[in-house]
């Protein structure tokens, strides 16, 4: 393999592969950012149950990571992202997005501040050329570190108890904060973050620590039925939490070929993050103009009657006029309702007279349903334990 033929070789394996491979009874793997990732280990329902009722572990290694260091790291990130990165306290994390000049979203991600001039960006897509271009004129170094960091996501109401049993006292750790622990001669960083909308933690380490850490975590978590989960179960949990995923709920502006496909933070319901007072950032002028003129699209949460997932469905106004489309949908075991995320033309954002056309597969035959939907608040599932500090001991 060389730089030109990398695509010819099989997907990479994560540092946890030796453990996940033997547990993956279905051998169900999918590609994620050049790695193979477990879609389901054996039973999606049980894996989702572990997220909501026990402790679940998801291999996060393929997540794309950039380290941003230097005296002007905060200034660089303030110009790059729409949120105020300078105000993010050291030891904290925030969710953020960045846009192109037209104010269209390139990606969302989480930003970890490890030091005054030391940040980590975690995101779905690769952006090194954009980050480097954005760094021109700033005293900052940007480096992709995806392969240098191994990570697991430990999620579920029992996750704090599992960590406690593993020797990591996280009882005082608040949401979006992080703390560092010694582990077998190295360090493990624990952040109270996740993608499930539940109590949960993300655990960051060097690849060399991956297998010993996995073994230690699973041994400690056994009493709580700790269980590895695949992307299918995680996707169900994130839909319940109302979270969006790049290239599933919106297409990054730099990948969109059709001019009308890219979306702004307003159109994705993320405008609450925009800090208009921090100074200029990329896309600010376009977004200010959009704020004044109004947006074309809106991202909404939908309550769908019945129990058939509305995945891939088209929305209609008055059953006739196309009004939008569903980007993610599921029957939610946690709220016992069929829910959906959808993009609708902005004028239909209130949801009046909005209908979804579902093709329901019933014993190998599609049946067309036209059902009235209601626009509802996200998250669909929002347990208090997600925020409680200290979290409950189970």
């Amino acid at each position: 393999m060389n730089d030109l033929t990398h695509f010819e070789v099989p997907l990479r394996q994560t540092p946890f592969h030796a453990r996940t491979a033997v547990l993956n009874k279905l051998n169900r793997w999918g590609p994620w950012a050049g790695y193979m990732t477990a879609l389901c280990f054996g039973d999606e329902a049980m894996e989702h149950t572990a997220i909501r009722n026990g402790a679940s572990v998801y291999d996060l290694c393929p997540m794309v990571k950039y380290r941003v260091t230097g005296a002007e790291a905060a200034a660089f990130l303030d110009r790059l992202t729409i949120r105020n990165a300078g105000k993010l306290p050291v030891g904290s994390v925030h969710y953020t997005v960045w846009c192109d000049d037209e104010g269209r979203v390139l990606d969302d991600g989480t930003l970890f501040r490890h030091g005054v001039g030391d940040y980590l960006i975690c995101c779905q897509e690769r952006h090194l050329p954009w980050l480097l271009a954005s760094s021109a004129g700033y005293d900052v170094a940007v480096r992709e570190v995806t392969e240098e960091v191994a990570a697991l996501s430990l999620q579920g109401p029992c996750s704090a108890s599992v960590l406690d049993a593993a020797g990591f006292d996280v009882w005082g750790l608040k949401p979006f904060r992080m703390v560092r622990f010694a582990f077998q001669g190295g360090k493990v960083t624990v952040s109270r973050t996740g993608f499930t909308g539940d109590l949960g933690y993300e655990l960051w380490m060097e690849p060399a620590q991956a297998l010993p850490f996995w073994d230690h975590l699973f041994a400690s978590g056994a009493p709580w039925g700790i269980r590895p989960i695949g992307t299918d179960a995680l996707n169900l949990a994130r839909i319940e939490a109302g979270f969006i995923i790049t290239n599933m709920d919106f297409i990054p502006a730099d990948q969109a070929l059709r001019e009308d496909r890219a979306r702004s933070p307003f159109e994705l319901g993320l405008d609450w993050m925009i800090d208009w007072d921090k100074g200029h950032f990329t896309g600010r002028r376009a977004l200010l103009a959009e704020k004044e003129a109004g947006s074309d699209w809106a991202l909404v949460g939908l309550d769908v009657p019945g129990n058939i997932s509305a995945e891939g469905s088209i929305l209609y106004h008055g059953k006739k006029r196309e009004a939008g489309f569903v980007t993610a949908a599921a029957w939610s075991p946690s709220v016992k309702r069929s829910v959906a995320l959808a993009q609708v033309e902005a004028k239909y954002r209130k949801g009046d007279d909005l209908w979804v056309e579902i093709y329901a597969l019933r014993e190998l035959q599609y049946v067309k349903l036209m059902l009235p939907v209601t626009v509802v608040e996200r998250p669909f599932f929002n347990p208090a334990r997600k925020r409680a500090t200290p979290p409950g001991r189970f």
Partner: protein, 498 residues
């Protein structure tokens, strides 16, 4: 803190034209010029004790008629010597005046220049237009439609010929229509003058059309180029413009996402409602504004505005008149298309051509006071010089000077014996002294992909920029450089329009 309605950065001919037009409409304008005198490329330079040469530009195809009239430049003392003939130096020199020449190709040449002039005539009005946007709103549709119709009105055969030739290379045209190498070389030289293109590079003919659109004649102002700049300064001042020299701008100041003034290198701060930059767009955005006030995509596209200079400037102090057929002609040494192309090839690799091509004038033949009695100065534009010489600036300059003098000596025997002092400005020297990025003639290459609504970039092609309150007015904007003031005049129109 002094406050103006507009600050113009850069006192070149475009900055002065812009300031003059704004002041005439009642704006309080200050022009901030880094150098000791205004004029930019149209200045005079004492390159050796007692010898003065035009700093960069030594001829013009005429000041934009709107600038001439709008600033009443004649009234402020601007006049021109009779148009210069071009003398192609060769074993048998050939004299050319517009389309008129002698020899076997005389008729063909006249016909070709007539055809090209006709194309230039329908293109000329575009030079005075704010480039259209590729959107449905905000364009001067009426004007555009009229200009489009103007092209269409060429008649069916000419229109087809126009479409065939508009993006063609000049070498093909020369080969198709002419047989005399002297004329072919001249055509190739003229089209690529100030460009980073060889005659065989695509789209090289359009640059010749652009020059013809500026004017058919090659002119030297009475009193020299500096007199042209001085007349513009007088006219601007008469309209109320304050022209401040030795006032290099270090930074554009921004408050509330709006350009609101500038800070000079001295630390002095000046406030204004509008800041208009008549210096290179790249310098404007990269150095004066900086990334903090600009979107990342735009800022990185600014870094990629191509701005390679291929023209070097030679000044010779001569102890006597050079032996040329006509001291008051423009002399061109460009023996054939091939020689011009081969002079371009090495600069692609950062090397110096063995046999550069060039044009020169003898300014002291027009103005007696540029050198002492009996002495002369020779001003040459020599192409092509590498903008990023592999051998380093010093070595490349020495080699370029030697090769240039050797070519000159071959065409003007005895010249080297008259040289009391020689100065060669390489593109890098020109950048250092005049601030033209890469030493480029147009503050950014004038090439089809950097023309009209792409000049200097889509987001700044209508003289406004993404930073509210900041405008561009220099050669880097439509319609490009040369001593004519068109870009500055257009920009002022846009500023007034808003």
């Amino acid at each position: 803190m002094p406050s103006f309605s507009a600050i113009v950065i850069g006192g070149g001919t475009n900055g002065l034209a812009c300031a003059g037009r704004l002041a005439a409409k009642g704006c309080r304008v200050v022009v901030l010029e880094a150098g000791a005198v205004a004029g930019g490329g149209a200045a005079v330079r004492e390159f050796a004790p007692g010898y003065f040469a035009p700093a960069l530009a030594h001829t013009t195809r005429g000041v934009d008629a709107r600038v001439m009239a709008g600033m009443a430049l004649e009234r402020h003392g601007l006049g021109f010597h009779p148009a210069l003939a071009t003398c192609v130096l060769n074993a048998e020199p050939l004299s050319v005046m517009r389309g008129k020449t002698t020899g076997a190709d005389a008729a063909a040449y006249a016909a070709l220049i007539a055809k090209l002039s006709e194309f230039a005539r329908v293109l000329a009005p575009f030079r005075g237009l704010t480039p259209p946007r590729l959107t449905s709103s905000g364009n001067e549709w009426g004007k555009l439609a009229r200009l489009g119709l103007g092209i269409r009105a060429l008649g069916k055969a000419d229109f087809r010929e126009f479409l065939r030739m508009i993006l063609i290379n000049v070498a093909d045209v020369a080969e198709d229509e002419l047989t005399d190498d002297r004329l072919k070389g001249l055509l190739a030289f003229d089209a690529t003058l100030g460009a980073w293109l060889g005659p065989r590079s695509p789209n090289s003919l359009i640059l010749l059309l652009n020059q013809l659109a500026c004017g058919p004649d090659i002119l030297v102002p009475k009193g020299g180029m500096a007199a042209l700049a001085a007349a513009m300064v007088r006219a601007a001042e008469a309209a109320g413009v304050v022209v401040r020299c030795n006032a290099a701008v270090a930074r554009v100041l921004v408050t509330e996402d709006r350009a609101c003034g500038v800070e000079l290198e001295s630390g002095e701060v000046l406030a204004a409602d509008k800041v208009i930059s008549a210096i290179s767009p790249r310098t404007t955005f990269q150095k004066l504004v900086g990334p903090r006030h600009l979107d990342a995509g735009f800022f990185s596209r600014v870094q990629h505005i191509r701005s390679r200079g291929g023209a070097a400037k030679l000044h010779l102090a001569l102890t006597a008149a050079p032996d040329v057929p006509d001291l008051q002609a423009r002399m061109v040494i460009a023996p054939s298309v091939r020689v011009v192309e081969e002079a371009f090839n090495p600069v692609k690799y950062g090397e110096v051509p063995k046999a550069p091509v060039m044009e020169f004038v003898v300014p002291s033949a027009f103005e007696g006071d540029l050198a002492s009695e009996g002495h002369h100065v020779l001003s040459a534009i020599v192409q092509f010089a590498p903008h990023a010489p592999k051998a380093g600036l010093e070595a490349a300059r020495a080699e370029m000077l030697e090769n240039t003098l050797a070519v000159l000596e071959a065409h003007v025997p005895g010249l080297r014996g008259l040289v009391a002092h020689a100065e060669l400005l390489m593109p890098q020297d020109i950048e250092a002294r005049f601030g033209m990025v890469g030493g480029n003639w147009h503050h950014g290459e004038l090439a089809v992909e950097q023309m009209l609504f792409l000049r200097p970039l889509r987001e700044a092609a209508q003289y406004g920029t993404p930073l509210p309150g900041l405008y561009l007015a220099g050669a880097g904007s439509h319609p490009g450089g040369g001593i004519n003031g068109s870009a500055g005049w257009n920009a002022a129109g846009m500023v007034l329009h808003e």
